[in-house]
Subunit: 186 residues, 2 copies
DNA sequence: GATAATGGATGGAACGTTCAATCCATTATG
DNA sequence: CATAATGGATTGAACGTTCCATCCATTATC
């Protein structure tokens, strides 16, 4: 495995285990089995490492969610496509979500207008909501509010699942997706 | 103002501004206008300060939400009471929520069985869900799942509002509460 | 009632530790 | 053999914590 990938992997797992504030370079280097000189060959600083990882992971997530996205079908099916993928990605890559959540909080303070926040996933869902509102099948609320509702449900449900509050079988996942749709349906 | 209150206030505002990981004792002491000796008269360590603040704020929030709670009315009205208070508290004390969210992540790692996680607010909502399920007005899902859905919507909506994604007038707040109810209604 | 003694609260200097970052000798690569 | 990659020792800065002199309200003494 490449050293850079090892550094990313070690950083991500450490943050998921101990939280962003507790992760030091020494821990990263130890877990990645890499010397500090090597790390500084790939990254100019610790901050640069975190930022690059953030860009990489947000892009990876957007790519996964939008891959094979069929935008020729109706709003209900498109909504289901995106949210199914979103939930599945969150479940299988929860460590990434933990990092993104913790780090994006820092980002908003230092780089408030970062383009990452206008990701293609949000563009796709906005399209669905606008079209759905014209067809009178989706509530007439601000698009960002609709986004927060549907996304908030998914994130919250996966968080609870990852905290071992309950199981999530396939049938329950389907019910959750239906709840997301019903919550914003006109 | 008491020195202890000044320390709490400085810590809370700093965390809301810069995130938990960036808050140092030097910054806290400077903002609270207090010497380090004073701080260590009130708290045995930085961790102890954060933990005590966490206990204080979670209790404060639970007290607010449950004050004047009328449990003699029907499930719909009780649900509305609790979630209205919850949303209002989050809106007016968002800094506290930021801290609690960031700190509870650390807590789960170091003290996974902390009793704080079984707070009276969750007990009250669980009562509502159980009763509502008997009356066939609430979806037949695990209680913790229902909790995550309704709470997730509120938290997500307030987060978006505090990120200046949209406004939240009284009418919109009412619509959000209706959405919470409809999302878990049978 | 005036003065001295007490003790807790306070702020800031000083301490050892830990951090991110740099430097450099060694190893791998082509 | 030349060049790049690597890991660990090293550095200075920043950190949490400790220590101590000072302040001040309260209490004791005469």
């Amino acid at each position: 495995m490449g050293k850079k990938a090892a550094i990313f992997g070690a950083t991500l797992s450490l943050i998921a285990e101990e939280g962003l504030h507790a992760v030091t370079l020494a821990k990263i280097l130890d877990r990645a089995d890499v010397g500090s000189g090597t790390l500084y060959n790939y990254f100019s600083s610790k901050d640069a490492l975190l930022y690059e990882m953030y860009l990489k992971l947000t892009e990876k997530m957007a790519n996964y969610i939008l891959s094979d996205y069929d935008d020729s079908v109706g709003v209900r099916l498109r909504f289901n496509q995106l949210l199914t993928r979103f939930m599945e990605y969150m479940i299988q890559n929860f460590d990434e979500q933990i990092f993104i959540e913790q780090y994006s909080y820092i980002l908003r303070k230092s780089k408030p207008d970062d383009s990452v926040f206008n990701n293609p996933f949000r563009t796709a869902t906005a399209q669905i909501y606008t079209e759905g509102q014209k067809q009178k099948v989706i509530l007439n609320l601000d698009i960002p509010i609709l986004n927060q509702i549907a996304g908030g449900i998914i994130i919250s449900i996966v968080k609870g699942y990852k905290s071992n509050k309950y199981e999530l079988d396939e049938l329950t996942k389907q019910k959750i997706l239906d709840i997301c749709w019903n919550s914003i349906r006109a």
